[in-house]
Symmetry: C2
Subunit: 158 residues, 2 copies
């Protein structure tokens, strides 16, 4: 029974937060280098929520788990930065159809690449087994085993 002393319970959230923070910070550092200096963490989630087929404001809000007002604001900034386009919805005169621009798609493509590269760094450091175990364990504890919803994520990243 090699019983190395257990860590304190409060360290667990701190470690999770620290690791998350580090990944997100590094992502944005690299995105900035690759021509996307204005992309904030929240924007990535929003783009993700819009999806390849576009979506309406309300739909984006629902997918993100925020109010449609909040979604409207975020989309407004995304539009100013050239990451999305807004157009009247052909099927519903009340609705606005939001689509991702080529620049937006470029940022998503690069984000995905950067995340893969970051994960490879974890694998180099910890080994593939440990990383998989870590992911599996986190998925277990969050009952997010299949598919991570965007809900409840934005807001507390910066």
């Amino acid at each position: 029974m090699a019983h190395t002393m257990d860590r304190f319970g409060f360290e667990l959230p701190l470690l999770l937060a620290g690791a998350f923070r580090q990944l997100i910070d590094e992502l944005h550092r690299r995105l900035a280098e690759q021509g996307h200096p204005d992309l904030r963490p929240a924007y990535g989630f929003a783009l993700q929520a819009i999806g390849p087929d576009g979506a309406t404001m309300s739909e984006i809000g629902r997918r993100l788990g925020v109010s449609k007002q909040a979604a409207t604001k975020t989309v407004g900034k995304l539009a100013e930065l050239g990451y999305v386009d807004r157009a009247p919805d052909s099927a519903d005169a009340r609705a606005v159809h939001v689509t991702i621009t080529p620049r937006g798609r470029d940022s998503l493509r690069r984000s995905a690449e950067i995340f893969e590269s970051l994960r490879r760094e974890w694998v180099r450091e910890l080994g593939a087994d440990r990383v998989r175990a870590l992911e599996d364990d986190l998925a277990t504890m969050t009952d997010l085993a299949g598919g991570v919803p965007l809900h409840d994520l934005p807001g507390w990243l910066r």
Copy 2:
């Protein structure tokens, strides 16, 4: 080589964030049940930063990694809620000495207990080895191997 397909890189931050979120939400759910419904995540960090001997506004800001103005605001709310006291510093007429009230200490004690209990749940679910491995791996990747600083944590929790 049983090579179950690797997860996508972007899932890692999502899993970390989800797990963190879940722990913090559960902490505050239980704290609310135990007589601390007004304690927000940021306040716990601030109390932590004040410490058993108290601290000045600037010191709290430094420990938290935020401006002294931000620290002043948070301490103000903490004081309104009865978690801290402010008194003139005996050694420096410019400074304000902030101390934790008994109620504040109660909340810290309960938080520590809740975090221990939450960690025990992880151990029940995943096994002590996996939890230790997870903590060690996260500590490795965050070079937070020894002692987690409060710096850069507040702000992106809610």
